[in-house]
């Protein structure tokens, strides 16, 4: 028993080192976004927000940011609509067609982004469709829909359909039942799925490379930037790129935890 008290906690030490290895670059990158001098030198020279100011003064960045938001918002809305309807079909109807399409709907999650990107280029040439924001968005929706299906299906599988029978029994037609009972109850999961789709889309780089055309999104802006000059504006973009999906993921986690169980959801309300 005594020996155990004095043994060296190897597991804890290795874990700590791994964490440092993982997060130190992030911390350093974030730190220099607030640097007072343009060169990335140690020790740290003092605080400033000038790189953020410089960044937002760059019309190229502002355009990239707008494009990213546009794509992410449209992706979130479209993927959530399509994915939620699909989740209903897959959890309520069981026949050869729905089972097959369910398997196919999962596919994009498992395919490499490179493959999807190349596929889009091929399709683009075939259909004489020019790359640009609509195509970027289409590429994102293709991959975001399966995620939405997964999240919303998980919720629907634990949803008690007797609630719908009860609503019908109390005089509500099918549409009113959906609007007043089913959707409000699964809403947290749907909102969580939408935020997940948004965050994923905002971050996506690989497929976008193939579908961008003349457009630039925030991740592609930072790639282009770092290729030319290394100054803290790149770090500033990294911080922004880090924060937006994290905020979205955080919100999604909160929403989905709330929808984890109906009782859990209700327990947090008064």
């Amino acid at each position: 028993m005594r020996a155990q008290t004095f043994s060296i906690p190897w597991l804890a030490i290795v874990s700590m080192l791994l964490m440092v290895f993982l997060f130190a670059p992030l911390a350093v990158a974030a730190l220099y976004a607030f640097s007072a001098v343009p060169s990335l030198t140690w020790p740290f020279q003092g605080w400033s927000l000038q790189w953020f100011a410089k960044l937002f003064a760059d019309p190229g960045f502002r355009k990239a940011l707008l494009t990213s938001f546009e794509v992410a918002i449209i992706t979130a809305v479209a993927a959530t609509l399509i994915g939620t309807v699909a989740a209903f079909v897959f959890t309520r109807l069981f026949n050869r067609l729905t089972v097959t399409s369910q398997a196919m709907a999962r596919l994009p999650v498992m395919l490499p982004g490179l493959f999807i990107g190349v596929g889009f280029v091929a399709l683009m040439i075939l259909l004489r469709f020019s790359p640009g924001t609509p195509l970027i968005t289409a590429g994102h929706i293709v991959v975001a829909v399966p995620w939405v299906i997964l999240v919303v299906s998980a919720r629907l599988l634990t949803y008690d359909t007797e609630l719908e029978a009860a609503a019908r029994d109390l005089g509500a037609g099918p549409f009113q039942t959906l609007r007043r009972v089913t959707l409000p109850i699964i809403a947290p999961a749907v909102a969580g799925a939408a935020l997940l789709a948004f965050a994923w889309s905002f971050d996506e780089t690989l497929i976008t490379v193939f579908t961008r055309g003349q457009e630039t999104t925030v991740p592609l802006y930072i790639v282009g930037k770092l290729r030319r000059v290394v100054d803290p504006t790149g770090n500033a973009v990294a911080v922004i790129l880090l924060l937006i999906p994290w905020v979205a993921f955080g919100l999604a986690a909160i929403f989905m935890r709330k929808s984890g169980g109906v009782s859990a959801m209700m327990g947090q309300r008064r």
Binding site: D160, D169, L170, I185, R269
Partner: protein
């Protein structure tokens, strides 16, 4: 609420007739050609083992399940194909199915707000919801969410939510199966009170015979999709029409024997050499029979006396009596006594000259396993 009870709560009509209802799930007939007539205002129980089709029959009446054949009528008009939301019935679901995102008051009000054309004013809704919440004894809990209520309270919300629409019939699907024994008693009395107060037709689905016998005026016993017997609780207990009914309702022992002679409703039977008279119908001389003896027909007497000797197998205490299981030459017999008996001790069993009911045949293949007689 006035002492006489507000007339606004009372409903009219509610005579339900189902005709030749059949429902198949795959190759299984869940409901098999059931015909049933319920007068308005009756308290009717559908009793039967799980899987006998009682819940399916109720959901067909509610419109929540389609049917393969038959008709459903309410007060003379056919509603067979009508959508559930248009039927004049409301249901209390087995697990209550309360809307978790709505408060108690919002749950109860739900049924009043679904018909956009006939939606009452907010004041009227508030009044009727308040009335219902008071009727089921939930005043003060209006703003709670279902998850914040006990099982018994949730059950009351479900009843109030169903009754607020003034249905012509209230359908209760195993409403007490999720409740503690103590709460069950209380809810049972509440339901009887509410039924008396409203006069609405109540249909209760249950597998609990105590519940069915104690609460309703008429019981329909179902077995394998068919109605076995429809009668009042006393008749069902004292004169079960079939061997299945006899085995499902109440406790009892079944003795194999032969019918010696039949005179009217009485037959003379021979059970392993013991001769006595029993009630019967449709049994002829020479038939092999099974004779039902209720525990109250039997008495424990000194070893060596009585009609049948036996060895006590188990003796269990039930408060007012001890339930004793005795092995006899005629088979296992269950009876009651005021005192405990040591397992292994020998006793005598006595019953009067006229006792029990004789049923034709010993074929028990249609019975569920736990109801089939033990092999000798």
């Amino acid at each position: 609420m006035t002492m006489s009870g507000p007339p606004s709560l009372a409903t009219s009509g509610g005579a339900i007739r189902v005709e030749g209802i059949t429902k198949r799930f795959g190759s299984v007939k869940a409901v098999d050609d059931v015909t049933l007539d319920l007068p308005a205002g009756s308290f009717f129980s559908l009793l039967g083992p799980s899987g006998c089709g009682k819940t399916t029959l109720m959901r067909i009446i509610a419109g929540l399940e389609t049917l393969d054949a038959g008709r459903v009528l309410v007060d003379g008009s056919e509603i067979t194909g009508m959508a559930p939301e248009r039927r004049p019935f409301n249901m209390v679901f087995q697990r209550y199915a309360l809307f978790p995102h709505l408060t108690v008051a919002q749950n109860v009000a739900f049924g009043l707000t679904t018909d956009r054309k006939a939606k009452p004013s907010q004041a009227e809704i508030d009044r009727r919801v308040g009335e219902m919440i008071e009727l089921v004894g939930l005043s003060g809990l209006e703003r709670r969410y279902p998850a914040q209520l006990s099982g018994g309270q949730q059950q009351r919300v479900a009843v109030a939510r169903a009754l607020v629409r003034r249905p012509r019939a209230l359908l209760l699907d195993e409403p007490m199966s999720a409740l503690d024994r103590n709460v069950r008693h209380q809810v049972r009395e509440e339901l009887i009170r509410i039924h008396a107060e409203l006069g609405t037709t109540f249909i209760l689905v249950t597998h609990d015979q105590d519940e069915a016998l104690s609460i309703s005026a008429t019981v329909g016993l179902m077995n394998a999709g068919r109605l076995e017997q429809v009668t009042d609780p006393e008749t069902l207990y004292h004169r079960p029409a079939t061997l299945f009914a006899a085995k499902f309702v109440g406790a009892g022992s079944f003795l194999d024997g032969t019918c010696l002679s039949a005179v009217g409703d009485q037959v003379a039977v021979d059970v392993g050499g013991i001769r006595f008279s029993a009630a019967a119908s449709g049994v002829r001389a020479g038939d092999s029979v099974q004779v039902l003896l209720r525990p109250e027909d039997l008495a424990v007497v000194e070893a060596g006396s009585g009609r049948l000797p036996g060895v006590v197998e188990t003796s269990a205490f039930f408060g007012a009596h001890h339930e004793i299981r005795v092995a006899t030459p005629a088979g296992i017999i269950r009876l009651r006594d005021k005192v405990a008996h040591t397992p292994g001790s020998t006793i005598g069993i006595w019953w009067p000259d006229v006792a029990g009911i004789a049923y034709p045949g010993t074929d028990a293949s249609h019975l569920p396993a736990e109801l089939a007689p033990e092999p000798a």
